[in-house]
Amino acid sequence: MEGTLAAKHITVALAGNPNAGKTTLFNALTGLKQKVANYPGVTVERKEGSWQLGDSNATLIDLPGLYSLDATSLDEQIASDIIRGQQQGIAKPDVVIAVVDATNLERNLYLVTQLFEFGVPVVVALTMIDVFEKQKHEIDVEMLSAILKVPVVAVNAKSGRGIDELAEKATSVIGTTQQIPYSFEEQEESGARGKIFARYSFISNAVQESTWHSDQSSHLVSDKIDRVLTHKFFGLVILVGILLVVFQTIFSWASLPMDLLESGFGALQETVKSALPEGILADLISDGIIAGVGGVVVFLPQILLLFLFISLLEDSGYMARAAFLLDKLMSRVGLHGKAFLPLISSFACAIPGIMATRTIENRRDRFATIMIAPFMSCSARLPVYTLMIGAFFGGQYVFGFVSVGALLMLLMYTIGIVFAVGAAFILKRTILNAPPPPFLMELPPYRLPNLRTVFQNMLTRAWQFLKRAGTVILAISIILWALMYFPRSGQEPVVSSQQTEVAADQQPAESVQLRQSYAGKLGHALEPVIQPLGFDWKIGVALIASFAAREVLVSTLSIIYNVGKDENEESETLITAVREAKKDDGTIAWTPLTALSLMVFFVLAMQCMSTLAVVRRETNSWSWPIFMFVYMTVLAYVASLITYQGGKALGFE
């Protein structure tokens, strides 16, 4: 027996209800030795770590948080597949650690009874026992263990209580067969219902025998907090207040590190330019790779802060309250209360927003949320709005004190929300038609978030973001750069007439290059299509580039107008250049109306490769991202057309 144990690699699975303290225990058992990936073909996150079990290192698998193993949701399906040993690439677990919240014993034990029926050895890890005892309740761990017929260990991840004992007990049950401590036979009802009743009647008995409750109510504190936070009126006011503070903080805290990153990348570009011999390699590295990847990486501080706040709100128990408060409003449109968080996150970036839809169980509700998430004005649109407002509406006020810029900004966010609501309404009544989703959600007790879990979560997200910047964005940057760089204008000495014309206009070499590049030709080809929106071919080039990522518009415009690529959207020179830019016929390229038309286009168009890639991954099909791209971009075109032509008809220029 000993020999076989040492020879075989041990796999342990960690199962438990959401909010039972599973993640905290997982972190305590594995330390930093863990990795996050996805199960093949699906979007359920797969978390694995290494756990020192006696002399050997066991693989610890963190199953998704579950209430049941009945395989009605994707998470449950995967969890039961893993326990059965049917999940590809994962060995059948030798033992399952069932994480049970002592303060919520009966419901938590339900999952444990299901585990018994799988026939896999089980050890129960009892968490939150200090909270339970503080409430003057008592629990007889040995008695509970005797009734359940499996080892029960009280653990505390923070103090380390019970951690060694857990390892010991886990090792001791490997290879044993535990018997199910109840039977289904005495039930009047048969089938699924009968089984549920049998499990609960056993649990109710077990809990009665092993615990002693004081009169002190365990939910007193949470109820008091809820009296304010889910108050019919103040609850909503506070919710709006919290969101305002979160977004204000994300923008203000992130601005310094973002500026630093930006100037860091600028300096890096300079260094490369001076260190490498002048030529294609230096241009590729500095103008293509560093400018492109850097332009996206500067958003890292915002992403980190967003996930910090999401983790804090989620771990504290507030997120469930927000869904509770807003469910009625969301269900009017046909969405689930849980869609609220992904949509809010999308104001920072649609990618984490779309990833956050994983908490929505119903596939159609989830897809409807994914399809409208990119309408929320994300932070990548901000540089575009800022440039347009700075160039054409800066310093203007209505009623003497309301800035036109702030009003326009608010208008852009509102347009996004209105279109999202409309799109959801239509989608849920057509291709994603489904009866109103059931809403059954635990409101967990308020708890102080575990900082370690919060930071670990932040780091994981940051790493995923950087990995994408290093792959997808890198590739797009190189392609765009090449489109603007080739063919070289110098390689075509024949076009002398054009060169004289250029000389007369005193256009610097880069503009000539752009005109003759593939991107320039594309811009010219596109001109008839975008002219009704008020855009000339140069804006067209920037527009094409911005389909990789919205903020690319700003850097492309600065290349096009020859003010150097390091200029950011706040620079006077780019603003002046945009104001003074001329079309080929010598007329002014930009008017306030053009700027407005462009802003409307940017609110609605699907101009983000990374989002499309994430949608492809999350929906596991190409048709959803393609559909998203087409319907959003068509809407953007029409809305922009109405803005420009309508504005012209009303006499604006």
Binding site: T72, R107, H219, D327, K328
Partner: protein, 81 residues
């Protein structure tokens, strides 16, 4: 469909603060099973804690924890005070 008891009260009709005993969970399928699995089984004591703004969903307490559900779901739960 399980037969309905005469003069049965449903959970959705209880006022905030009311406590009652679950008699039956009507209906079939996923939602019903999920309600049962979450501990809303015949014999369990439930109480209505509050209703969200706009009256829906409601928060109930069962097995000592808080569960939110829409009135639609609460209509499936038959109770006796």
């Amino acid at each position: 469909m399980t037969k309905r008891t005469k003069n049965a009260t449903i959970l959705a009709d209880l006022a905030v603060g009311d406590e009652a005993r679950v008699i039956a969970v009507n209906g079939e399928g996923r939602v019903t099973n999920r309600l049962l699995e979450m501990g809303v089984v015949p014999g369990a004591t439930v109480s209505v804690v509050k209703a969200a703004p706009f009256g829906d969903p409601i928060q109930i307490r069962v097995l000592g924890y808080s569960l939110a559900m829409r009135r639609r779901e609460a209509e499936m739960i038959e109770v006796a005070k």
